[in-house]
Symmetry: C2
Subunit: 308 residues, 2 copies
Amino acid sequence: MSLLLVSNHRDMAPFKAAIEKIDSNIDVEIWPNVKNLNRVQFAVAWRHPKHVFSQYPNVKVISSLGAGVDHLIQDKTIPEHVKITRIITSSLADQMSDYILTACLNIIRKTEIYLEQQKTGKWKVHKTYKKDELTIGILGLGELGSKVTKRLLINGFSVAGWSRTKKMIEGAETFAEDELTDFLNRTNILVNILPLTNQTEGILDLGLFKQLKQPAFLVNAARGEHLVSEDLIYALDTGLIKHAVLDVFSEEPLPESHPFWGREKITITPHVASITDPDEAAELLVENYKRTLSGMALLYEVDREKEY
Amino acid sequence: MSLLLVSNHRDMAPFKAAIEKIDSNIDVEIWPNVKNLNRVQFAVAWRHPKHVFSQYPNVKVISSLGAGVDHLIQDKTIPEHVKITRIITSSLADQMSDYILTACLNIIRKTEIYLEQQKTGKWKVHKTYKKDELTIGILGLGELGSKVTKRLLINGFSVAGWSRTKKMIEGAETFAEDELTDFLNRTNILVNILPLTNQTEGILDLGLFKQLKQPAFLVNAARGEHLVSEDLIYALDTGLIKHAVLDVFSEEPLPESHPFWGREKITITPHVASITDPDEAAELLVENYKRTLSGMALLYEVDREKEY
């Protein structure tokens, strides 16, 4: 039996090393160097080449290397009987919380304005937003979203949250699927950490932006496909959204010619909000690998119908 | 009896309005428009003109408009019998915590590198510092410092603290006056929020920087006079300090010709870490004004010997 690591452009060697450190008996292979295609029962994928899994007739489980599984759900060549799992670690949630908190603090404290002023030696004080003046609205209250919410709350922010089924988080105002308008109407800083599914693709569009409370800001740390790019540009140009912080894009790396790069009202980070740590991931991968071999229930298995 | 508001260049009208809103019977005057010099018993000062208080023979108490009182302590024309108080509000401590937290998050997440990359359309991932890799060291564990420490702790940072007399803060490693070297040896991000006194002036010098743990960073949110500017420039040029975030300067506004402006390794904000809110300040000022008239003990009175 072997465990296969598959990625188009991520270096998988640290993950192989981390898995072998936990259990040196596991035969770990890195695509495309596979000795015996039939022996692969468990695979780990990050931006895998389409169709690659059809080469391994005995693969039972494929784990995403992160919290998102859209790249696996969308690959219709993966047979229906193959189970899909994902990686949720406390470090992933903590990094995501740090990223969102940093973005929100920089928005209220006007960090970028001061960095611009510095370039021309300009000393001018700008009013910061008070934390009780703005409400942060979190789209998606799953494993990551609920932790992000709690972290913003302990830092004194007002937080609202929206999820398909209503979640209860002490101190936050939460909304269910059919209460999206109510949620948006009291949200100033909209933070997207939804899973990418057929239902959520393109959710960040002009119709949604128009429902936000003014002044409005956007932070997207989920997937580029959630956002309708031209709608964001229109919203920024018309002042409907004052500033956007984007970590994800429908094409990554974001092409040099993309209009987002040159915009002062957009902050771009290269998909770094939350990066899976090999040692932490390895623990979960080894556990799920062993569960696969013994037929036990998997950890963080994805509902392929719901797509998350 | 009157309450006098004195500042060289800050608009005191909002403070007058806030005080009158609480108690319309208080006679609030704004310097230099004073009807009767003898009636001034309580004054509030922020960057006051030197010698100004010698004009008011009956002034008993002068309150700083913020947490710092160095501008009052250093004014030797203020008679010794005049008591000095300062303003500490939960909002001041919260704003300071936000400022320090923002600076530390931007350091570990390399925010400025990404903003620079964006200018040239560059997509490159940089390793973030993990929160357990770097220790934040807080110089000064008074009213503000202890709150800043707690806030960093709940956000998962490792925090050390140094103060004249050793303070106990759960979760932080604290050091007393004579343990400065031990404190510095385990500090990566040095955060200064000390009061400015004869003892602390110029404390941030090359000798101190050399004792920091590598990689080292500096955040100064106290007073410009704590820092020996040329030592910081030397430390940045030699890589002893990787980056400095400065909110305060010995001359403010920082002159356009100052070498700090043009440095990539320095982030400048125009003394905005913590700004006194008129409504919050007014409550404390009215309370201390009434205590002055009735001869009661004052809130947040400063020990003029210790200078804080």
